[in-house]
């Protein structure tokens, strides 16, 4: 009987271990891992204070800078940037350095909450289009060239012609010799 109780106790302990919440979440420490193609990347992570969390994403960065909020800055190693020991809250990611031939990724907010404390993402850093080198042609026209066709003349001719025929038929007196 004692063995049975012991076995039951072990099952309960193992089940508790299996279904326990993630220890990182329990501690309130989260992480944001970025996988970036651009090896020269440097990314700043701003913690957004609660009163600023309703500001639109586009205006958020300038507001944070105005309020002199200091970001955590990390550089890319093996195409990965990792911010850890983060508390739940709203964060703003901004790429502060990028390779010359690549565009930085779009500055965007990330929410860490108790249900999702480990975030991994692969922000897109598109290559910058190489600028064309077209020949130089200048003009000093005061009016743009006429590029029309005589389509309007066709319509005008058809309308006026029809009008003349109708007017002629209307004027025609069948009794006049």
């Amino acid at each position: 009987m004692r063995k049975l109780w012991s076995l039951l106790w072990q099952i309960i302990c193992i089940s508790t271990l299996i279904i326990r919440p993630n220890p990182v979440c329990a501690n309130g420490n989260g992480s944001i891992v970025l996988h970036i193609e651009d090896e020269e990347s440097e990314v700043a992570l701003y913690k957004v204070p609660e009163p600023l969390q309703n500001i639109e994403a586009e205006k958020l960065l300038s507001t944070l800078k105005k309020q002199n909020i200091q970001p955590q800055i990390k550089t890319c190693a093996n195409n990965t940037i990792c911010f850890d020991n983060l508390e739940p809250g709203v964060y703003l990611l901004q790429q502060t350095k990028h390779a010359n031939e690549r565009q930085p990724f779009k500055t965007h907010p990330i929410i860490l909450d108790e249900t999702n404390m480990q975030i991994e993402e692969t922000p897109k850093t598109a290559p910058i289009a190489s600028k064309p080198n077209y020949p130089t042609r200048k003009r000093n026209d005061t009016i743009l060239p006429y590029t029309g066709q005589s389509r309007w003349l066709v319509e005008l001719g058809a309308i006026l012609g029809s009008a003349c025929i109708i007017a002629g038929l209307w004027l025609k007196d069948p009794y006049e010799k």
């Binding site: 006429y146 001719g157 012609g161 025929i165 002629g168 004027l171």
Partner: protein, 171 residues
């Protein structure tokens, strides 16, 4: 007397309608000629095109199923045959063409995000349309605005205004 006037009016009417028909068939013929010329030039081998300094490159508008060679200089006579490079500098070009269906006659149907490709002898550039606008014929400065990498323009159907398609370089 009344009948004399009526007969004259009917006669003039028929002449006008006949004239319109002649012009219409001329336009149709001109359109076909432009299409054939463009096709001929497109079919020329790459090497031949490279050696022909008259041409700047090719313009591709998949939405309208248009593939047109572009002349490197502009003149009213040249534009009767092919679209022309009207103004250009390093990374900005303005191309004009007649509003025939085989040239730029349907560019007003283009919309935001439609792709346009410029193929020169050395490179290929992809553009995306950002806006289509109507300008007055004397708004030269606005038309050649370099904020956009590529501008295509032609006359509106009655030739009073100009339709400008603005596109930005994407790759």
């Amino acid at each position: 007397m009344k009948n004399k006037i009526a007969r004259s009016l009917i006669g003039i009417g028929w002449i006008l309608i006949l004239g319109a028909l002649v012009l219409f068939s001329y336009d149709q013929n001109d359109n076909e000629m432009k299409k054939a010329l463009a096709q001929q030039q497109i079919e020329r081998s790459h090497q031949e095109q490279k050696n022909d300094p008259r041409f700047f490159g090719q313009l591709l508008i998949p939405t309208l199923e248009l593939e047109l060679p572009v002349l490197s200089t502009y003149s009213q006579e040249a534009m009767d045959q092919y679209p022309c490079l009207y103004v250009s500098d390093k990374d900005h070009i303005v191309i004009c063409a007649h509003n025939a269906d085989s040239h730029f006659g349907r560019i007003q149907q283009l919309g935001f995000g439609d792709p346009i490709t410029i193929q020169t002898t050395t490179s290929s550039y992809q553009y995306k349309i950002e806006k289509v606008e109507i300008l007055d014929a004397d708004e030269v400065e606005r038309m050649i605005d370099s904020e956009y990498g590529l501008t295509l323009f032609t006359c509106t159907p009655y030739g009073v205004h100009r339709v400008a398609v603005r596109a930005r370089l994407v790759s």
